[in-house]
């Protein structure tokens, strides 16, 4: 099978893994009221093509004087030279990030984490389920599969948001509905515009429109608010998708990204190097991955 992207082992190993490189914001615009889209390029253009990554990986973003935090990459490695992020204003670091304007610089180091196992997912059907901000890492996977459409099987994209105005990348996904090489199903919990043409209801209601799926041959990728996992996973298990083929990407506090600072530890794993992508089997097996409740209540 042809290699879709080179994964870091031939990348120059930096002496100091904590050294941020400076990147420049080339595009920035609001996606919704409190979520911004950022597109960035390295200040040193020779570095641009060295940033190779897998969908599902993350970087540490530094804002001078504010500190550093992990952010997942929303763009695809199949579109090299840039990184895109989808970021909600939540605290002091993101507030400062929102104050930056196009052409301003900030720090990036990475990529880190395991990312999605793209080599194993090749040739398989792909079912992506995104809820709210969960689209941030899953957009990378979606664009990657679309850009390498011939090496994957059926592609299904389910996306739920609270309201139409809160749906991230709404126009981008509405356009995807026109394409014939994927099934794109969108829903909102509540239509506050009166103009919503798609489904109304929680994201799991989209499973009714899924049609037949080849469960054993499917990889599912899920990301969303904690409350969503239980219900979505229940559906996926009911469909018969094997537990190790149900993947989710998780969030933890991180101070280093490279397995040193300890904050993201869960039993013997570090979310930063062993994750952030875990399988449903991992979740059953490791009690604290997505909190009590999910692993206790969904007995597959």
């Amino acid at each position: 099978m042809k290699k879709l992207c080179v994964v870091v082992d031939d990348k120059e190993v930096q002496d100091n893994p904590f050294q941020p490189d400076m990147w420049r914001i080339v595009r920035k615009y609001p996606l919704t009221g409190d979520v911004n889209f950022f597109q960035a390029r390295p200040v040193d253009v020779d570095e641009a093509l060295k940033m190779d990554f897998l969908p599902g990986q993350f970087v540490m973003i530094s804002i001078l004087g504010e500190g550093e935090a992990p952010f997942c990459i929303s763009s695809s490695p199949s579109r090299p030279g840039i990184l895109e992020f989808c970021i909600r204003k939540m605290g002091t670091l993101t507030e400062s990030l929102f104050e930056l304007k196009e052409n301003h610089i900030f720090g990036i180091r990475g990529p880190y984490g395991n990312g999605f196992p793209m080599d194993k997912m090749e040739g398989k059907d792909i079912l992506i389920v995104a809820g709210g901000m969960g689209v941030a890492p899953l957009r990378s996977l979606l664009l990657y599969v679309l850009d390498n459409r011939d090496v994957f099987g059926k592609l299904t994209y389910l996306h739920g948001a609270r309201t139409p105005s809160e749906m991230l990348f709404r126009d981008e996904f509405m356009q995807l509905k026109e394409r014939e090489d994927l099934k794109c199903l969108l829903s909102v919990d509540k239509d506050d515009t009166g103009k919503w043409t798609e489904k109304v209801g929680v994201v799991t209601t989209l499973f009714n429109d899924l049609g037949p799926i080849d469960a054993k041959n499917t990889y599912a990728a899920v990301c969303g608010p904690p409350v969503m996992y239980r219900f979505v996973i229940e559906q996926l298990v009911k469909l018969g998708i094997p537990k190790h083929q149900i993947l989710m990407t998780l969030e933890r506090r991180m101070r280093c990204g490279v397995g040193k600072c300890g904050h993201c530890a869960i039993e013997y794993l570090y979310t930063c190097i062993d994750g952030p992508v875990f399988s449903y089997w991992d979740v059953i097996h490791m009690k604290e991955l997505i909190g009590r409740g999910v692993s206790d209540k969904v007995i597959a």
Partner: protein, 341 residues
């Protein structure tokens, strides 16, 4: 490994000579406590001391240091201002602790700050006299075969000196006249006697057999809540534990500028904000969850990954915790399903 012999009275001369390589540090008494301090000679050291308050990890990984200086241009790493030090009198348990730190900081994504200090710090180990809190025989860390540059075993009239590294060997070569290669029958007998004697000195113990399974079984045990009712979340256990490596990173900025430093300092998973993510969601809101994480990491997860606990039996948690939560009381409570008084 090379083992040499040195007359007891020559140690002072030897240490005076090797000071040429770097600062000499050793255990000293200060206000009734033992602490590492910079010294001029052996006479200032307290060689009878058992444990220092803080383990020698503080030399390899200081409680607070600057990683980067920054301005609007970006981040410039701050390296190279670390003094060369010779640490004398490090006990086997603490060298075992350093070996665990080596694993965490030097494997996959080598930490250059730790590596630099490790490189510039020579560890001269010394045999010890167990007190009523030492449990290193129970954690299999009462002797040490690697990780040091030199190790001195006190056999009353003389020292047996293990040479653990090329740099340690260089120190020996600075005063080759003080060492002998002649080891005889009596040396072996004396050493065997010393081991027997040391073993008899232990008064405390901890039984960590089966801990991974017992932790798994006891995940929802009420003892975590009972222990949490006592715990103060003060984090002292993390500060004094030779295997606690967690840290926080904070940017310190000069008021009204974009210049400052990125500093790294010790953190503890006992602190409430340890697992907080965006939107103030806290994965370990309850004190019981944090307490369980601390002990799970050392006595379950670490054994699962490396085949041994991340406890070197040094007794510091026993000595330090103001409310008697430590490896002994926690492992016993979990096994017996009852929190001791």
């Amino acid at each position: 490994m090379m083992i040499l012999k040195m007359k007891k009275e020559d140690l002072s001369t030897f240490l005076d000579s090797v000071k040429e390589w770097g600062e000499l540090w050793g255990p000293t008494r200060r206000e009734g406590k033992t602490t590492y301090a910079k010294v001029d000679s052996l006479s200032q050291m307290d060689m009878k001391a058992t444990r220092t308050i803080i383990p020698p990890k503080k030399f390899l990984y200081p409680p607070k240091f600057t990683m980067f200086d920054f301005d609007e241009e970006g981040y410039v790493e701050r390296m190279g201002d670390v003094p060369k030090r010779i640490l004398f009198g490090i006990h086997p348990c603490d060298i075992h602790g350093i070996l665990i730190m080596d694993k965490l900081f030097l494997e996959t994504y080598k930490d250059p700050y730790y590596a630099e200090r490790r490189e510039k710090t020579l560890l001269l180990g010394h045999s010890c006299i167990p007190d009523d809190k030492c449990m290193c025989f129970a954690t299999n860390t009462d002797f040490i075969a690697e990780g040091f540059d030199l190790f001195f075993t006190d056999l009353k009239m003389f020292y047996l000196v293990w040479v653990g590294s090329s740099k340690g060997h260089d120190l020996v070569r600075m005063r080759a006249d003080l060492f002998s290669r002649e080891l005889g029958k009596n040396d072996i007998i004396n050493y065997t006697e010393y081991r027997k004697w040391k073993y008899k000195e232990y008064k405390a113990t901890v039984d960590l057999t089966g801990m991974p399974d017992i932790f798994e079984l006891g995940y929802n045990s009420i003892i975590w809540d009972q222990l949490a009712d006592k715990c103060l979340s003060c984090g002292q256990c993390s500060m004094v534990c030779p295997t606690c490596n967690c840290y926080n990173v904070v940017d310190d900025i000069e008021l009204g500028t974009v210049e400052g430093t990125r500093d790294r300092f010790w953190d503890s998973c006992m602190f409430r904000e340890y697992s907080v993510v965006a939107g103030a969601q806290n994965f370990r809101e309850k004190r019981a969850d944090r307490l369980r994480l601390w002990y799970t990491h050392k006595l379950q997860a670490f054994i699962g990954e490396f085949g041994k606990p991340a406890c070197v039996g040094c007794g510091r948690c026993v000595e330090t915790c103001p409310v008697d939560i430590n490896v002994v009381t926690v492992s016993t409570a979990l096994k017996e399903q009852e929190v001791g008084k």
